[in-house]
Symmetry: C2
Subunit: 335 residues, 2 copies
Amino acid sequence: MTDDVLLAQTLRGGHVESCHYGAIAVVDAAGGLVFTAGDVSTPIFPRSTAKSLQALPLLADGAADHFDLPDAALVLACASHQGEPQHIATALDMLARTGLDQNALECGTHWPLDSAATRALAATGEEACALHNCCSGKHAGFICLACASNMPAEGYTNPQHPVMRRIAHTLASVMDTPHTDANRGVDGCAIPTWAVPLTALALGFARFATGLHLTPDDAAAAKRLRTAISANPFMIAGTDQFDTLVMQELAPRVLTKMGAEGVMTVALPEQGLGIAIKCRDGGIRGAEAAAAAMIKRFGKIESPILEHFLARKLTNWNGQTVGEIRTAPSLLPRN
Amino acid sequence: MTDDVLLAQTLRGGHVESCHYGAIAVVDAAGGLVFTAGDVSTPIFPRSTAKSLQALPLLADGAADHFDLPDAALVLACASHQGEPQHIATALDMLARTGLDQNALECGTHWPLDSAATRALAATGEEACALHNCCSGKHAGFICLACASNMPAEGYTNPQHPVMRRIAHTLASVMDTPHTDANRGVDGCAIPTWAVPLTALALGFARFATGLHLTPDDAAAAKRLRTAISANPFMIAGTDQFDTLVMQELAPRVLTKMGAEGVMTVALPEQGLGIAIKCRDGGIRGAEAAAAAMIKRFGKIESPILEHFLARKLTNWNGQTVGEIRTAPSLLPRN
């Protein structure tokens, strides 16, 4: 990883406290490399950044229309949500349209990622269930896809299940990269995740941004998802989250998606570009800081939310500013 | 930071997913360098690793005896606790001995770091207070120090307050390193934190481990703290935490303390060594993985808990093993 570049540093009292290194690929829909920094060829796991690509068959195969899914549900299928009440209600509604409920989910259970949501749930005396898993919307989408095609939903997380094979086919096609046993791992929510070069992940988002080099059905699905996400940025993440904050201000010009272990993707439809970032240590704050610079530089966008993430203040428990997370100056636009 | 070395990697499906780089210093009480790796000279903030050194005046100046503090309270003064009921009760008891309560704490409020403790508190309908701050025991110790010396407790977090000046003097002396305005930052709990070379932090823990090159009062205080921590490892952290798990099995032969932003210190009394580790990206899992190797190598200890942290399993929400955090082989003992 010695090829990686500095993405961001945290500062305290004017001294550097921590450093994030990683890699960035900016690619057009034909696969042309517009910008790279760091090691963009060693395969990385896209994790949750791939969710909007994994959701393409839900629309392209007609399941979204079959169950008349509202836009908020389409976005939740692409979401790493914080387990807030709107997210939970939407996931449950998606399942109800298939005649199923949370017992059909195979993602496992954790308490809401949003701490206020966890405390509110605990205060009711209830326990968390699979609906609160940050991936429950994606899983509800998989179940809709299975049920609309008259496939059994059970076992849908298994790599050999027709739903997962369908997803793998779409991912391989959109990213022009094999998705086989050789590059497969298991994601936190039990479905397969395939390691791909950062350039391939960026290519997927250039195509998602533009519809170019996609099948007509996938291109239409991508356009509908971009519209739905732009109108419902809260549903893709939640309170105080990078994706929600950035898209509330900048969608549909900018679409972003975080993934576990420091991965971030950006789609820039006006420029026809896809961006993929891996913070090599897995720290999402490093990927967010780098993404803000890439959006400013390649999206040619000036915005308060980008400035916020280019020099994010760190406060202590008394609210006193004690430092900041500062994007590496080398990533910023050239004047 | 190009001088840093690999500390650990996370693996998923047999592929490397994330990497942690950083630096390590192993030092004896005279300042002799036994082992170094990576950049050990650029100053870093010790953060909470310094707590047991910050607690020396509490004992050395007689405040612990003045208020007849039990061993559990001495340990809580060195703790980054998880906000579990035993921690909260002990912090409140420390304050009660001075005639004060949580309103005297200047550390700020956050919900317990232990998620079960947060949910239990929320279920009662109560709100978090400063007692739940992971540093409340350290702050209660500062208040005991002030009150036993007939100093006003109020403002004790200010760098110019006599308590903080006393702490700075001890830290500078134990680490043989200036603690001035030039290298000062503000910690998460509002007190000063001073950036020091990793070798200086390791020196502090070699002296804490042995009592050598300390004043007689500080040497006696260090011995009493080592004994108290070894008998109460739950109080220094809590459920499922590295420090508690390692010391439940290996104290008093091994004493460890984590700090925010990927810092870890180890005291090895039998070998007369102090160890300091900085995971450069701030990831504590990288520092823990490296610490396990250093304890095995320089403490010459074989133990299941060390093997656990040398190749820690990563599971998903269904309990399925999906990968591991593996210590860099280069750090392990030479056969």
